[in-house]
């Protein structure tokens, strides 16, 4: 039963990871830009939720839509003003741009919030539900539910709205999108905004589970990469599966071996997948 509880906690954390990786996957799948500042944006989401908690006593769950909305606007503006000029540039140039952006973001957070860790103290932080002998931590349940709602909303947006379908069309055939008169630059802006909103929302939820400090950013960037490569780049279901797997692997290795060793097992999973199924678990062969 203890093992099941550990797996359960891993799955719930994994749902938040999935929402984070979802953002990376959406941006890469449509714009073909690898967001090397993804973890930084995650930490910005965490700090934004922390600021809202500190100043307005807003629960991170309640802050999530607000953080997502603000980060959507910021992501949209960033893409339209800066990143869009690099869309047709060679990949090494894009890489330099995104790394530079990541450094600027981390340094800004250091200046504003300092290097120390911050957290939120919620009165339900140690509550849990018990169902048939299984223990569900309340914060983890809330965080996972928030992540699943966010992912479902985004999925519905891509499946059913005119703008969502137009974004899929850009990803499917960029030339075709121009032929029918889609405003590709604007749709790219919206896509980048949505990707950043996703990771920002994941950041607010993550604040329920861990303390925030600026240097977390690199870890989250790598984690997001592991997850999307595990699941299969550009596959929405892939980010979900990869997130859950990494969540469980971290929880189990943290319990059986040592919490500081948990990344080793995530990388181990990555190497296994690259050896045995390089297109990712749900990926299609190129």
């Amino acid at each position: 039963m203890l093992y099941l509880n550990i797996i359960l906690a891993g799955l719930l954390t994994g749902a938040v990871y999935a929402l984070m990786a979802f953002g990376l996957s959406v941006i890469y799948g449509v714009i073909r830009i690898v967001n090397f500042a993804h973890g930084e944006m995650m930490v910005i989401g965490m700090f934004a939720a922390f600021a809202l908690y500190r100043w307005l006593h807003l629960d991170p769950i309640a802050a999530m839509p607000l953080v997502a909305a603000v980060l959507f606007l910021a992501g949209y503006a960033l893409q339209r003003s800066l990143i869009n000029r690099f869309v047709t540039q060679p990949e090494p140039i894009q890489f330099l741009l995104m790394i530079a952006l990541a450094m600027v973001l981390t340094s800004t957070m250091l200046i504003v919030f300092g290097p120390n860790a911050h957290n939120v103290q919620l009165d339900y932080a140690f509550d849990s539900y018990e169902v048939g002998g299984l223990l569900f931590d309340k914060v983890r349940v809330f965080a996972a539910a928030g992540a699943l709602v966010g992912a479902a909303l985004l999925w519905g947006f891509f499946q059913f709205t005119r703008t969502g379908k137009a974004i899929r069309a850009c990803a499917d055939n960029n030339l075709g999108a121009q032929v029918v008169g889609l405003d590709v630059a604007r749709l790219y802006g919206i896509t980048f905004g949505l990707g950043v909103a996703c990771v920002g929302a994941a950041g607010s939820l993550m604040l329920l589970l861990v303390d925030v400090q600026p240097y977390l950013a690199t870890d989250y960037t790598l984690l997001a990469f592991i997850i999307v490569i595990l699941g299969g780049l550009g596959r929405i279901g892939g980010a979900l599966l990869g997130g859950l797997l990494v969540g469980v692997s971290e929880a189990l290795s943290g319990f059986f071996i040592d919490p500081s060793m948990k990344s080793m097992f995530s990388y181990g999973l990555l190497i296994l997948v690259l050896l045995l199924r390089p297109q990712g678990l749900l990926g299609r062969r190129a």
Partner: protein, 235 residues
């Protein structure tokens, strides 16, 4: 309706169009013929706003459109059935058609135009839930035409619509183009390597060679011209 003057286009240092000047009147079918690499597709893409000309003017119903982005040009009523069809292979047939009507000028008519498209191409209606990439080449060409019509264009540019299709299907495509012009009053620009068939259908034609217009005239007259016959038809 469409007046192009002194159009130069470059890809980096390579010049693709040299002072192209041509005119297309309302309800006309104009063929632009020429060999592979003559600049036909470059010309279409420049009109469509997908390439920026270095010099020259493009006027559509009196308005200067050279240099406008492609989505603005579609809004004015210039539609395109592109080379290689350029459908969305991983989206369903109906989603492909919906994408044709995202531009603002087409939104109000989208629902009724969808019914008209299905009436015109019953095969598309049968396959509306199927992924467009699984259609046959001929069906994909019909989808590309139907998707273009979803945008309520006044002028349609067809870029190599017969490429890679069986002769029977080619005849069908040319018949559709003829009807769009005769019955619906659409202005047609037809770019083709299939010189004989397109000049037969067209009111007028231009011959494009190495990025320059080298000949123009009535379709039938060009078809009878010895130079055209030798260079493009092989008799």
């Amino acid at each position: 309706m469409l007046k192009i003057a002194d159009l130069d286009l470059f890809y980096g240092d390579a010049q693709a169009l040299y002072g192209v000047t041509l005119e297309i009147a309302e309800r006309e079918i104009v063929a632009i013929v020429g060999a592979n690499g003559a600049g036909k597709t470059s010309l279409i893409r420049t009109i469509a706003g997908m390439q920026r000309p270095a010099r020259g003017t493009i006027r559509f119903v009196g308005q200067e459109i050279a240099g406008l982005p492609s989505h603005r040009i579609c809004e004015l009523g210039i539609g395109q059935v592109a080379e290689g069809r350029q459908i969305f292979p991983n989206m369903s047939v109906v989603e492909n058609l919906e994408m044709g009507a995202v531009i603002r000028r087409a939104r109000k008519e989208a629902r009724s135009q969808l019914e008209r498209s299905y009436a015109m191409f019953p095969r598309l209606a049968e396959r509306r839930r199927q992924l467009a990439g699984t259609l046959s080449g001929g069906e994909q060409q019909m989808l590309a035409i139907a998707r273009c019509l979803m945008g309520q264009p006044r002028l349609i540019m067809f870029d190599e619509p017969s490429l890679g299709l069986a002769p029977l299907v080619v005849a069908e495509v040319f018949e559709i183009i003829r009807r769009l012009n005769a019955d619906d009053g659409l202005t047609i620009v037809l770019v083709e390597q299939n010189v004989a068939q397109s000049l037969t259908l067209a009111d007028r034609g231009y011959v494009l060679e190495n990025g320059q217009i080298v000949m123009s005239g009535a379709g039938a007259a060009l078809l009878a011209d010895d130079r055209v016959r030798q260079a493009y038809i092989g008799i």
